[in-house]
């Protein structure tokens, strides 16, 4: 620390000597720089502290729950009915709801977002790009309640009429509709970050590809995309976290009935939908039913953390420098 400071001071005075005057200004700029560094450190520490605080609250609040419910039942039980007179505490049904809706959302958002990103970065003329990007970002500014009702009143009926033709019956509350709408909502997250990553790929790499006789699409898919893979991976990871954490859309349009199923045509509840349902209901604080939302939150946290770690590891594995 002190060595740092003296280095910085030395740099400052050398600067001052180089322009032949103003030693005081050199000192001032060093002080400002130290101040900024300290501010940045505080900001970084604050985000770590908040995360730790969340973990702490989750663990503390779910402790009474786990004193009452065995870990085995929590992990392997197939029913989640904490508010019934005969309560069951298997987290599986909630997690399956989260998994299914997240998977549907990613199936929509990853391809669509990537295609939009490729178009924006490799095809769109500058002026059009600058017009399209804010419009796309507007999508993620729409309140999720609106998306929830969009799923319930527009997308699900459309899916119902399509599926009816092949004699498939889609209930009003299902996971498919909200999953798709969630995917649409996430597209800008994927496209915006992926586009940044692709535009950061040096022109020299594209020139190398064109010079060998490649066209735009080949260059985009076989050179730019792989070169930007680490950034695109980050975009996918963010999209997934966003989908896992999404609450309102599924709470509104997927029904609130925890069901252990992988079938997107069934209604189900996700972890977050359950949490908001209980938190907004009249379950007495301190009851096991109330504490169960912290246990569910903790489970979600662990799962998301796991996915993020896997994503980070994959990105490190495929990292390409250019």
């Amino acid at each position: 620390m002190s060595q740092d400071a003296s280095n910085a001071a030395g740099r400052g005075s050398r600067l001052a000597r180089a322009d032949g005057s103003l030693g005081a200004r050199g000192l001032l700029s060093v002080m400002i720089e130290r101040g900024i560094e300290f501010g940045l450190l505080l900001a970084a520490l604050a985000s770590v502290a908040v995360t730790l605080g969340i973990v702490f609250v989750l663990v503390r609040e779910s402790a009474p729950f786990f004193a009452h419910v065995s870990l085995g039942e929590f992990l392997f039980g197939t029913e989640w009915t904490p508010l019934f007179s005969d309560p069951k505490y298997g987290i599986g049904p909630l997690l399956s709801g989260t998994f299914v809706t997240t998977t549907i959302a990613l199936c929509v958002a990853m391809p669509a977002g990537t295609i939009v990103a490729i178009w924006l970065s490799e095809y769109a003329p500058h002026r059009i790009r600058e017009m399209v990007k804010p419009v796309l970002e507007l999508i993620s500014a729409v309140p999720t309640v609106v998306f929830g009702y969009f799923a319930l009143t527009v997308v699900t009926p459309m899916l119902q009429s399509v599926l009816a033709r092949i004699n498939v019956d889609l209930p009003t509350f299902n996971m498919l509709g909200p999953g798709i709408v969630m995917g649409i909502m996430i597209v800008p997250y994927v496209s915006s970050l992926s586009e940044d990553a692709m535009r950061a790929v040096p022109m020299l790499l594209r020139e190398g590809s064109y010079a060998l006789g490649a066209g735009r699409l080949t260059t985009a898919l076989r050179v730019v995309f792989p070169a930007a893979l680490s950034g695109i991976g980050a975009a996918y990871t963010l999209a997934m976290s966003r989908a896992v954490g999404e609450t309102m859309i599924v709470a509104i349009a997927a029904g609130q009935k925890p069901t252990l199923t992988a079938n997107p045509l069934e209604s189900a509840a996700t972890v977050t939908a359950y949490i908001v349902q209980v938190a907004g209901g009249d379950v007495p604080h301190g009851s096991i039913g109330y504490q169960s939302i912290f246990a569910a939150g903790l489970a979600l946290f662990v799962v998301t953390l796991g996915f993020n770690l896997v994503g980070a590891a994959l990105r490190r594995r495929f990292r390409q420098a250019y």
Binding site: H126, P202, M203, L204, L205, R206, E207, G208, S209, Y210, A211, L212, G213, A214, G215, T218, R222, V223, P226, A227, L229, Q320, A321, Y322
Partner: protein, 287 residues
């Protein structure tokens, strides 16, 4: 550019004398005066927006020879070179005027009606900085082949090996063809890019200061490669280093402020240039 020019000034007197010691005049003198023509540049100009970077250049590129483009920084060497495969098409507000005819077909490369992809299939380019793709060594070399529809494994393997041998890289990489091209050293990366350019059997290869980022040993290897290639491929090479121009080229074109001042046999340019400007440049008494 600022850093480059003092070094350039420094190098020039040595360049000129080096040329006198072992210039390429001996083999030149033995060659027939006329080789067939690969490209004919006529009244050619190029514009970045309003700025005319290449001014009314006419020149003849001989087939299976090495033609060097020299001249002070900013004179338009790179710009002219990049017209030969229309790299400028990738950027807005660029304009070509005049002709660069590729022979024997005789079509005008810079004519908008000419499909740049078809034309680039016949003309390869090696850039100033090595730019391997984010792929394995093998896939880097196979890239151009795949674009040309080669998909049989054995054919790919054979042609990749041949190209890597041609670029004097095979022995160094044959055990790690699956490793990323980025893992190679700078000089190896540049030879990888040469292999990539060679693999597609081009009629012409454009080199833009291919050794400016390399150490003397890597530079010597690449110069040797250029030497081996001529006789089979037409080579156009931009260089700042006049020793290099003298060592590797048969013909030299001297450019200044976007104009072609003089073009002749390399030995003639370096020993007995006809224009005063050329003489001043190659002897380092410039400006």
């Amino acid at each position: 550019m600022v850093i480059g020019s003092p070094a350039l000034m420094h190098a020039q007197p040595r360049d000129a004398s080096a040329d006198h010691r072992h210039g390429p005049d001996a083999p030149d003198a033995a060659m027939p005066a006329q080789a067939s023509i690969k490209a004919q540049v006529k009244d050619f100009s190029f514009y970045y927006g309003q700025f005319q970077a290449v001014k009314n250049v006419s020149m003849t590129i001989r087939e299976h020879k090495v033609t060097a483009l020299i001249g002070p920084s900013g004179c338009g060497k790179t710009t002219l070179l990049r017209c030969f495969n229309r790299m400028h098409d990738l950027y807005p507000n660029t304009r070509y005027a005049g002709e660069i005819r590729l022979l024997p077909d005789g079509f005008n490369i810079v004519d908008r009606r000419v499909n740049p992809i078809e034309m680039r299939m016949r003309i390869s380019m090696v850039f100033q900085k090595p730019n391997p793709f984010p792929k394995s060594i093998f896939e880097n070399v196979a890239y151009g082949l795949r674009l040309r529809g080669v998909s049989s494994r054995s054919e790919l393997a054979g042609r990749v090996e041949h190209a890597l041998r041609g670029a004097a890289l095979w022995e160094e990489v044959k055990d790690r063809l699956k490793k990323p091209g980025f893992d190679l050293s700078g000089g190896q990366q540049q030879r990888l890019c040469i292999a990539r350019a060679l693999a597609v059997d081009p009629e012409m290869i454009l080199f833009d200061e291919p050794t400016s980022a390399l150490d003397p040993i890597a530079t010597a290897k690449i110069e040797e490669l250029v030497h081996e290639l001529k006789g089979r491929v037409t080579i156009l090479i931009v260089t700042h280093n006049m020793q290099q121009a003298a060592r590797v080229s048969d013909e030299t074109a001297f450019m200044y402020l976007g104009e072609l001042i003089e073009m002749d046999r390399t030995s003639k340019i370096f020993q007995n240039p006809s224009k005063q400007l050329t003489e001043q440049y190659i002897t380092g008494h410039f400006g």
